[in-house]
């Protein structure tokens, strides 16, 4: 069964204090690789069979109305087999 994945991220210009907190916690645990961290959301949406173009169009619509807030966030839609 295929999954439709929607990933939502804050726009680059929007302050992400959660990501910053994660970035500053990493070195305290000895992880020194991160220059910066931004935190987002991932939605996994199951559909019957392969997603149809009509379903994907609906997912796009849902992504810009409910799953993300276009004022502060961007989203991408992917299909995962």
């Amino acid at each position: 069964m295929a999954k439709i994945i929607v990933e939502v991220m804050l726009k680059p210009e929007i302050l992400d204090p959660q990501g910053q907190a994660v970035a500053s916690a990493l070195p305290r645990l000895g992880f020194t690789f991160a220059k910066s961290v931004r935190q987002g959301k991932r939605f996994e949406i199951e559909v019957d069979g392969d997603p149809t173009p009509a379903q994907l169009a609906e997912v796009e619509k849902a992504s810009e109305t409910l799953l993300s807030n276009p004022v502060i966030e961007t989203y991408i839609v992917k299909i995962e087999k």
Binding site: L15, P17, Q18, A21, L66, N69, V71
Partner: protein
């Protein structure tokens, strides 16, 4: 005669009773409205109270926006019906696109609860006519996601059109752009405010009675209509 002001209860609203009490103390009739109904019960204005509607799931106010009562409120607000959104109510107004911008996590990540000084910057909205321009007031602020964010273009528009109604003074609680605590729509009938005027209406329980003026302002405006 007195005016009927509705207070919407969403699942997770907390301050609906305090808002109703503030309306009554200001001289209005508080009318409880329910999220699942689209019936505005002939109210002449609406308050969207603070709290955690739908558990703040997804984003604050994101799910409340799709409640049946919000369809009626959005339609009415676009025709000049007065709406005040406090805290979570402000978040709902932004998610409903009645107000521009969005409220995001406080810059220091902490939930903050304090008596906050504000400066009133616009006394022409339906909810702020009782204040003096530049008046400083002290009302409680309590939220985790109160940082007002928008793009530069929107910020310039808000500033140039005088739509910032209140700004934080002496202390930056959350990293809001230009210390914005509250804004209005173009027409001045829709106002969103992060701090809580409904908790500052009586000296026994609040740090001041400054909050009451938001509610008396709208009642005076309704008389004048």
């Amino acid at each position: 005669m007195s005016f009927r002001i509705g207070v919407v209860t969403f699942p997770g609203s907390l301050d609906d009773r305090d808002a109703a009490r503030a309306i009554e103390l200001a001289g209005g009739i508080a009318v409880p409205l329910f999220h699942a109904s689209d019936d505005l019960k002939e109210v002449q204005a609406v308050v969207l109270p603070g709290g955690f509607s739908y558990g703040d799931y997804l984003r604050c106010g994101a799910i409340a926006r799709f409640a049946p009562i919000m369809n009626s409120i959005v339609t009415a607000a676009n025709h000049g019906f007065p709406v005040l959104g406090i805290c979570n109510g402000f978040q709902v107004l932004c998610e409903s696109h009645l107000l521009p911008g969005a409220l995001t996590r406080n810059s220091n990540l902490h939930f903050l609860c304090r008596d906050q000084k504000l400066k009133i910057e616009n006394t022409n909205t339906m909810w702020t006519t009782g204040f003096k321009q530049g008046q400083e007031i002290l009302i409680p602020l309590k939220n985790g996601e109160g940082s007002f964010q928008c793009d530069d273009e929107t910020l310039n528009m808000l500033e140039n059109e005088g739509r910032v109604i209140a700004r934080y003074v002496d202390f930056d609680p959350n990293g809001s752009r230009n210390l914005i605590a509250g804004i209005s729509n173009e027409r001045g009938n829709v106002v969103g405010l992060m701090p809580h005027p409904e908790h500052a209406i009586e000296s026994l329980t609040g740090p001041s009675t400054d909050g009451l003026t938001f509610f008396t302002s709208v009642l005076h405006q309704l008389v004048g209509r």
